[in-house]
């Protein structure tokens, strides 16, 4: 039975009263009657409630931006409804972006102070005081999925807006579970899936540090302005911070630290080794310090800073394309159909038939690194087989996605131009509007293609080392430009951590059963969690694809 317009209006009104807790018994019965007897009403119920849930989520996340309208005199809020979030801090990524911290310039002064404060800090932060119940240090801003809070011997569900105290231990569950903790004017911390961390206060009150037993922590720490540094303790290392954005990933074997902004000092517990890490740098603390001492360029002159994944197609046989970046666990790729490709003498892979070359699991290290920095560089040495490739959308050359309609990013070919689709908080899950070179800029020659996107949102493209004019397409497909660069605002907080990395095709078929295969040769593919500068792009261009510069048998790596 179809609802009349009048019935729909009445249903919408009753649902509004329901979410306001203002439904009378008679109205409750009326609403129940509508819902029980009509499938369309039930569908409208679920859709309207979901709109209410999402609208509430949206406005709470943007509370600080929209607070102006609430600064007028207002009646007291309901006693039963916590109001702490009304002017609360923004979620991690948006808040950090708006602060616009620029602490890099303080690096020298910071480094001088580190040595002095390190020993003090280690003794100051009481990371093992599990039973201490002092004043609130922080607020649990957002819990996604099952998150538990341990306070002394008591374990309870971690609830949004909960006040957190010294010694509180937060535990997140598996994939997708996360929690955001905010301590206004001090820090915002996001714990990823499978994490366990304990908060620590400092003598004068306030959040002084956090002990991470396992899992990933992303942190944005405000400049300390004379306060002792913020400390992150792990089983393997101490990380001391003055004010910066960084991530800490703790596994059984090691602690990996990656810095997005500012400077931190990493000290290995067992060996006592210590290193200062600045923006774009990372290091791993296990038994000893690793990673940080590496040269910023490899032996071929290619920049390594921020490199996350590198494929040089030098295997020559088989169905595995190896990740030779030497950063964290290798993200190797498997060729789905060996008969669809040809290994090229000396390096390179020619794709002659539809197939996909993809990682077996999520591109975790790549996604996590880019989410930390909100920056990306996709680089390829390639040779398209056909100048005008297009199949109901751009054909995919390099993609981190889960199908034709959802991606973190994709470098593609759309007719005779290159295109970057990038998912941010201000683009669609499919990466629209995309950034593309001008029509006709693509040739079937060996080409060095680089797209970069920095944390400010500036998107650039380089072809053979030179900046390429870009055109942008809006949702309706209208072209704008050309322009030397384009702004793709937002951050990567919404990137899907389960997506795989794929080459030469989309990862999955669309609803018509069609793929997005690409034909051509790949000689090098690299992904950086950083926007390379024009100089670095030229430097990589000058290094050439691996096969032109390297000895044929030498492994390509640092």
């Amino acid at each position: 039975m179809t609802l009349s317009a009048e019935q729909k209006n009445r249903l919408d009104l009753l649902l509004t009263q329901l979410t306001d807790g203002a439904l009378s018994p008679a109205e409750s019965e009326e609403l129940g009657g509508l819902l029980r007897g009509n499938a369309e009403a039930r569908a409208l119920y679920m859709q309207s409630m979901l709109v209410a849930v999402r609208t509430r989520e949206y406005f709470r996340e943007h509370a600080a931006e929209t607070a102006v309208s609430r600064r007028q005199p207002e009646p007291a809020p309901r006693a039963a409804t916590p109001t702490a979030r009304r002017r609360g801090p923004l979620p991690f990524s948006a808040h950090a972006r708006r602060r616009g911290w620029r602490v890099t310039g303080l690096a020298a002064a910071v480094l001088v102070g580190f040595g002095i404060v390190l020993s003090y800090q280690m003794s100051r932060v009481r990371l093992d005081s599990a039973a201490a119940h002092g004043p609130a240090l922080a607020t649990l801003l957002r819990a996604t999925g099952p998150v538990r809070l341990q306070r002394g011997a008591q374990i309870m569900p971690a609830k949004t807006r909960a006040a957190l105290r010294d010694g509180d231990r937060i535990l997140t569950a598996g994939l997708g579970s996360s929690v955001v903790i905010a301590s206004p004017a001090i820090a915002e911390l996001e714990l990823g899936p499978g994490a366990a961390a304990t908060l620590a206060g400092e003598p004068h009150g306030g959040l002084g540090g956090v002990s991470v037993e396992r899992g990933a922590l992303r942190a944005a720490v405000q400049p300390r302005k004379g306060l002792p540094p913020f400390a992150v303790s792990t089983p393997h290392a101490e990380v001391v911070v003055i004010g910066t954005r960084f991530s800490v990933d703790v596994t059984d074997a090691a602690t990996r630290v990656q810095v997005a902004e500012g400077v931190v000092r990493l000290t290995v517990r067992r060996s006592g080794e210590s290193v200062a890490l600045s923006a774009g740098q990372s290091a791993e603390a296990g038994e000893r310090l690793a990673g940080a001492a590496r040269a910023h360029t490899d032996r071929y002159g290619r920049t390594r800073t921020g490199l996350v994944a590198l494929y040089t197609f030098r295997e020559g046989r088989g169905t595995t394309v190896r990740d030779t970046a030497g950063v964290r666990e290798p993200l190797d790729l498997q060729i789905a159909d060996r008969n669809a490709v040809e290994w090229l003498p000396g390096g390179g892979l020619r794709i002659t038939r539809p197939t996909v070359i993809a990682s077996a699991g999520p591109a975790r290290k790549l996604i996590e690194a880019c989410r930390t920095t909100n920056e990306l560089t996709v680089e390829a040495w390639l040779k398209p087989a056909i100048a005008d490739q297009f199949q109901r959308g751009a054909v995919r050359i390099v993609t981190v996605s889960s199908g034709s309609g959802a991606r973190n990013f994709t470098l593609g070919q759309s007719h005779a131009s290159y295109e970057l689709r990038l998912r941010t908080s201000e683009t669609t899950p499919n990466g629209h509007p995309s950034t593309a070179t001008l029509p006709g800029t693509l040739a079937c020659d060996l080409t060095h293609v680089v797209f970069t996107r920095d944390a400010a949102g500036r998107c650039r493209c380089f072809l053979n080392g030179a900046p390429a004019p870009i055109a942008s397409a809006d949702r309706a497909g209208d072209q704008r430009g050309p322009a030397p660069e384009r702004t793709v605002g937002g951050n990567f907080a919404d990137w899907d951590a389960t997506m795989r990395l794929g080459l030469a095709n989309e990862l999955g078929l669309d609803h018509l059963g069609l793929d997005r295969h690409w034909f051509g040769e790949l000689q090098l593919v690299a992904v950086y969690a950083r926007a390379l500068s024009p100089e670095e792009v030229r430097q990589n261009r000058d290094a050439g694809p691996a096969q032109l510069t390297a000895a044929r048998t030498a492994p390509y790596g640092p």
């Binding site: 979410t19 569908a43 709109v51 609208t55 607070a67 609430r70 609830k159 994939l175 899950p429």
Partner: protein
């Protein structure tokens, strides 16, 4: 009814978290308050996590999650003693059993991104009202007092706005560009 199998626990929990907004939508009908629904669903998710080994592969995972959250909500209602149940049990069961209704309210369809684009089409005044309601935690009576309007007119504006957003999101989906 779908038969669900999961390769591992992580994928099961990922699916549970994808259902979180729909579970909240469902539970709100029982507890009559979005804030309470959020806490109830958080408790429900922890139960789902702790009972994950009990789930029988081949059954409907969505129905299982709904049932756990329904029980969690009922416990909350009993604990409040005087709290009214917003919708009766028969209606709640009808909603949980209506898979088609739930499919039409897929969380990915009603994404924050889709909502953001539709919110941009609203007037400043309407956005202010939504801000007061959702970020400011004011009830309709308090909003009415601030605007100097009868509370009924605030309910009408809110319900029209919600319907407008719902229709905008659905229309937007229908006009998705080529992929």
């Amino acid at each position: 009814m779908p038969n669900d199998y999961f390769e591992n626990e992580d994928l099961m929990m990922k699916r549970a978290m994808e259902l979180q907004p729909v579970l909240m939508a469902y539970v709100t009908g029982m507890v009559g308050n979005l804030d309470v629904a959020e806490d109830v669903v958080q408790n429900g998710l922890i139960r789902i996590w702790s009972k994950r080994e009990v789930f029988t592969p081949g059954k409907s995972f969505r129905s299982w999650c709904f049932e756990i959250c329904r029980r969690t909500a009922l416990e909350w209602i009993r604990a409040q003693k005087r709290a009214p149940i917003a919708l009766d049990e028969e209606t709640i069961s009808a909603l949980a059993d209506d898979h088609a209704a739930c499919e039409q309210a897929a969380p990915e369809l009603f994404s924050l991104e889709a909502l953001r684009r539709c919110l941009a089409k609203l007037s400043d005044r309407t956005r202010e009202l939504l801000d007061l309601k959702y970020a400011g935690n004011l009830d309709c009576g308090q909003i009415a007092a601030r605007f100097g309007r009868p509370v009924e007119s605030v309910y009408v504006t809110l319900s029209r706005t919600r319907a407008q957003l719902r229709d905008c999101i659905l229309k937007q989906r229908a006009m998705e560009p080529l992929q």
